[in-house]
């Protein structure tokens, strides 16, 4: 079983568009499992019409809770808290559970044992059926922490399912950025497909995501999206990839058909046979060769 992760560094370059197209194209040839690792803002479900089969709570971490009847407002908790999560009051202190990182420092230091640690349901994860194969996805609740932990969980579930059913490919739609959820999304991947746009920020962010995948030893490939918005910047990316010894798999043109497909709730390759879909078809063929 192989694991392919779609990343970009910069947000909004077309990761989910590419992931949905690859899910569609790959599933015609081989049994696949899909995982949406962007648990902050999961969008793959919007173009795969998933039927949810299972829903589970995700316990992220703990938060401190102050018992107001025991609190003497001595202020020790606020002194030891490094996350500005204690809200002082005249008679009793309170915890700002959005700021609380669950370190339990206050719990240990409170002289009257007025603080307890409570587990917090920080999100939900789902196992769904789609016409391309099983989808594992999640919703982290607003303003929660531990998105990396939830990403790991969603991916592990996808992996186990793929191994159980002998499915050969796990496609992971990754989050933007280079930090904790991205590190979790790329752990154990056989290949990372980096979706880049030909802009100064796209190039800047490509360098950082590529340094990140290199750092964790995940081989990377590049696909340029909206390539014709700036052909000379696209050439610059091409030269950069050549210098780094990274394969450039395709140049997908800018086309509002991508948005039209999204409005219809379909992967673009299922919606249309134009230049965008044809180029994504070539990208899939090359990804398949690399995974073999």
């Amino acid at each position: 079983m192989k694991q392919l992760v779609i990343l970009s560094g910069k947000g909004g370059t077309g990761k989910t568009t590419v992931a949905a197209a690859l899910a569609h194209l790959a599933s015609k040839e081989t049994p696949v499992v899909l995982a949406d690792a962007d648990v902050d803002a999961a969008n793959l479900e919007l173009v795969l019409s998933p039927q949810v089969q299972e829903t589970h709570d995700f316990v992220g971490g703990q938060v401190a809770v102050i018992a107001s009847d025991l609190c003497t407002a001595c202020g020790v908790c606020a002194e030891v808290c490094r996350f500005e999560a204690i809200i002082p009051g005249d008679e009793t202190y309170r915890v700002d559970d959005i700021a609380c990182e669950g370190c339990a420092s206050c719990f240990y230091q409170c002289p009257v044992e007025a603080i307890r640690m409570e587990e917090q349901v920080a999100g939900r994860w789902f196992r769904s059926d789609t016409r391309f194969g099983p989808l594992f996805h999640a919703h982290l609740f607003a303003a929660q922490e531990n998105s990396g932990k939830l990403v790991t969980l969603v991916k592990q579930q996808g992996r186990l399912r793929a191994l159980d059913e002998g499915r050969e490919l796990l496609i992971v739609d990754g989050p933007p950025g280079i930090g904790c959820p991205v590190i979790s999304a790329s752990a154990g991947a056989d290949l990372a497909l980096l979706v880049v746009e030909p802009t100064v920020s796209g190039i800047h962010d490509l360098e950082r995501i590529l340094a990140t995948t290199n750092h964790f030893g995940v081989p990377a490939l590049v696909c340029i999206n909206k390539a014709d918005i700036n052909p000379s910047r696209a050439d610059e990316i091409s030269a950069f990839c050549a210098a780094q010894g990274i394969a450039l798999l395709g140049r997908v043109p800018y086309d509002t058909v991508v948005t039209e497909a999204m409005v219809q709730g379909l992967p673009v390759t299922e919606y249309d046979n134009g230049p965008v879909s044809r180029e994504l078809g070539r990208v899939w063929e090359r990804v398949r060769e690399r995974l073999a």
Partner: protein
């Protein structure tokens, strides 16, 4: 006035709006002694605002979190530090204390709980803050080091610049947040007077806008307004949502390939089309009215 620019979905134009808004306010207020315009790029995983503002960097400071270091002359290997660590960042094995910096949140609980006072803390560098000047704008951004998971401490220390920056009564601070809805975005929004949501009128844009509004308005209790970028693409979902939720649409930027092309070269809208300056000043005035 502190304005956080956010979106949920990546690539909707947060940096475009943040940069053009700051430039327009700064040029209108040039020469006013009681006013300064600051731009803080809080997308420390993929900071891009500098590519458009080209600031002269005057100061660079390494930042990170305080992690424990054990004084083996005092340590009795009692294991209390490992026991109290909520992040499993410490393991005590025989005559050794193993510390995993990538798991440590820098809460200091181990230091406080060590019965022998055998722990002191040292800075584990995870990123840097650069500060400088871009024309009339005071500029700073954070840069998370490659391979580091935790963006929040870098954002937190970047935002301390707001306090140190010799603010005048009429100063305006524009914060450019990262995509998503979890802890880095919360850290960026915290303490803002207003959250400006930049979205695109597509199903992905709407889905992630809802989540970002949940964070800003429902969790943090901040006033929000929307900028619709690429107006004309997609569907009416965002308009209908904003009307139903009573969220003001403060500006519309049309879908225009020339704007995307200028962006791709790092050219700001106000430089390419000076008439936009007045529109961004108007945007600022409408934010002032919303906050008042």
């Amino acid at each position: 006035m502190i304005i956080a620019v956010a979106s949920g979905k990546g690539g909707t134009g947060k940096t475009t709006v943040a940069v053009n808004l700051a430039l327009s306010i700064a040029s209108q207020r040039a020469g006013e002694v009681d006013s300064r315009t600051l731009l803080l790029d809080c997308d420390v995983e993929e900071p891009n605002a500098h590519l458009f503002l080209n600031p002269t960097i005057e100061r660079r400071e390494e930042v990170g979190i305080l992690i424990p270091e054990v004084d083996y002359d005092k340590c009795t290997f009692c294991g209390r530090c490992a026991e109290v660590c909520a992040y499993h960042a410490i393991a005590v094995v025989k005559q050794k204390v193993l510390i995993f910096p990538e798991l440590c949140h820098g809460c200091g609980s181990c230091t406080l709980n060590c019965p022998e006072e055998a722990i002191h803390e040292v800075l584990n560098v995870t990123g840097a803050i650069e500060e400088g000047q871009a024309g009339d704008i005071r500029f700073a951004h954070g840069i998370l080091n490659i391979g580091e998971a935790m963006a929040v401490p870098v954002i937190h220390q970047l935002k301390e610049r707001i306090g140190e920056a010799d603010l005048r009564p009429q100063s305006v601070v524009v914060l450019d947040a990262s995509p998503g809805t979890s802890c880095p975005v919360v850290e960026a929004m915290r303490g803002a007077d207003f959250v400006l949501m930049v979205t695109e009128p597509t199903p992905f844009g709407l889905h992630d806008l809802r989540l970002a509004v949940e964070v800003a308005r429902d969790e943090l209790g901040l006033p929000v307004g929307v900028v619709i970028n690429r107006d004309g693409v997609g569907d009416r979902g965002v308009e209908d949502y904003c009307a139903a939720e009573n969220i003001p649409v403060l500006m519309r930027i049309p879908l225009d390939r020339r704007i995307a092309e200028a962006y791709s070269e790092g050219v700001t809208m106000v430089a390419a089309w000076p008439e936009y300056r007045e529109r961004f000043v108007e945007l600022y005035r409408s934010i002032e009215k919303e906050v008042a």
